[in-house]
Amino acid sequence: MSHAVVQRRVLDWAPAIAVFALGIAAWQGLVAAFHVQEFLLPKPSVIAQTFWDERGGLWDAGIYTFKEALGGFALGSGLGILFALLFAAYRPLGTAFMPFAVAANAIPIIAFAPIMNNWFGLLNIFSKMAIAAVLCFFPVLINTVRGLTSVDPRSIELMRSYAAGRGSVFRRVRIPASLPHLFAGLKIASVLSMIGAIVGEYFGGPINALGVTILNASAYTNFPLAWAGIVVASAFGILFYGSVALAERLTTSWDPSRRDFQTE
């Protein structure tokens, strides 16, 4: 990379880095100034220390919870894609059921977590996978259907002019066109699956799970540990989201609408 490009990159990121540094410094400073706050919001240094001390347990807990999330993500997204293909291929089915999917997405699905625990057992990993799966299913379904059905009519007409059958149209036009929407849904699902796993554990779960760790730590006012747990949860969440985003970039680099914001 040329010197100018490197310089550009650094300048681009400078404000964000400045904000981060300022934020951490402010956190550290303000907590020191208002000493009483430490009870609720420990200093970053304290959190870091706790994180280091408990890193073994936290890592294991994180992995366990991440497994729940990943399993739920795979199950829910897989089913979501399957049903989306079904609904896109057989329109009447789609038009009949999509309103329900949208409505279901508007419901606090997470409230069903206790029921999942009752069905599959508190300590059973599947109980959290199930709630994560249900959370992932609807966004993936809705987004993928939107992607499969909102194709420019002219692309379809073009394929018809080549005497391409419906199956061919589906494969060559709709599915590639739906990828950006699919990934939008998958990104949402990656976040939701983590939330589903952790919040599901708040209703009961094995001791070595991350959500349970955080909850117990909060209940015993061991806030540094709770925050350390949150950091771990966030780290897994960011990594998960980032992986999906990376996969998206690799498979849909052609899509011009992928730019997030217009450059002035």
Binding site: P99, P114, P153, I214, S218
Partner: protein, 293 residues
């Protein structure tokens, strides 16, 4: 952007009511189908002794009509019906969600307007706003409620804060996207009028952002209800639906239908919020119909 057709015929009152009635009928049919599937699975599961993925019995899969019937029964002997309680819990949780929704929405909206006008601020803050979307925010819920509780803050306020937090990010991101959505031509046009930044904001950016804002509000409507319910659970706030879920969960084996009934009420609350935003969107937004195949 150019439409091919000339003006479309005005929709008549009759056509609209017919369409609405059709929708309602479709919904009822769908619910009936779901009801049927549930009861069918139950019937078969019980007869066949299904144990995977879970045992099919009265505790795990109560009859749907039982779930509804328990609402009419008193919660304590001789006291008001469960529905009476659920109604009050729903109002309590709804209030928390609404306060959070309005607060989070307002802050998100204001922040987006600020960010739309400052590239430096965008570069500085956007990465964190984006990252925060990937953080399991609900994970912080117990700490916020418990922590603020120890400082003497009323629980419902803490819960509203959670709801606000969940609302804030989708609204901020989407509003920003919407504010920056006008194409270069539209901006050139405004320049040709020597329009001030304020003019461009009010006459172009804000109206252009409304569809984006509404799609965020639809997400936020649900998110704030979820935030309110979950926020109540760690502290077992007795006055709301979250607390009810925790309680009924504890006594699930003795009265499973109560938990299910509460879930139904939660669903209704979420739907109510969503529907309210939908209605507002329909009233406020006037845009070209999508041209999709």
């Amino acid at each position: 952007m150019a439409a091919i057709a000339i003006e479309q015929p005005r929709r008549t009152r009759g056509a609209d009511t017919a369409r609405g009635a059709k929708r309602v009928a479709l919904v009822l049919v769908g619910l009936a189908v779901f009801w049927g599937l549930w009861e069918a699975y139950r019937w078969i599961g019980e007869r066949a002794g299904v144990t995977w993925p879970f045992t099919v019995d009265d505790t795990n899969m109560p009859h749907i009509h039982e779930m509804l019937r328990v609402l009419t029964k008193p919660l304590q002997p001789g006291g008001p019906t469960l529905l009476h309680y659920e109604w009050h819990w729903a109002l309590f949780t709804g209030k928390e969600a609404l306060v959070g929704f309005l607060l989070g929405g307002a802050i998100g909206f204001a922040l987006a307007i600020l960010l739309a006008h400052s590239r430096i601020l965008r570069r500085g803050l956007l990465p964190y706003i984006v990252i925060s979307q990937t953080v399991p925010i609900l994970a912080i819920a117990p700490m916020v409620v418990l922590g603020l509780g120890t400082k003497g803050v009323e629980p419902w306020i803490a819960v509203s804060v959670i709801a606000a937090y969940l609302t804030f990010f989708p609204v901020a991101m989407n509003t920003l996207r919407g504010l920056l959505s006008p194409d270069p031509r539209s901006l050139e046009l405004m320049r040709s009028y020597a329009a001030s930044r304020n003019d461009v904001l009010w006459k172009l950016r804000l109206p252009a952002s409304l569809p984006f804002v509404f799609s965020a509000l639809k997400i936020s409507a649900t998110a704030s209800v979820i935030g309110a319910i979950i926020g109540e659970t760690p502290a077992s706030i007795q006055d709301g639906l979250g607390g009810a879920i925790v309680n009924f969960n504890q006594y699930y084996s003795t009265a499973p239908t109560r938990l299910w009934a509460t879930n139904i009420v939660c669903a209704a609350l979420g739907l109510a919020f969503f529907a309210a935003v939908l209605i507002a969107e329909r009233l406020i937004l006037r845009r070209a119909p999508e041209n999709i195949a």
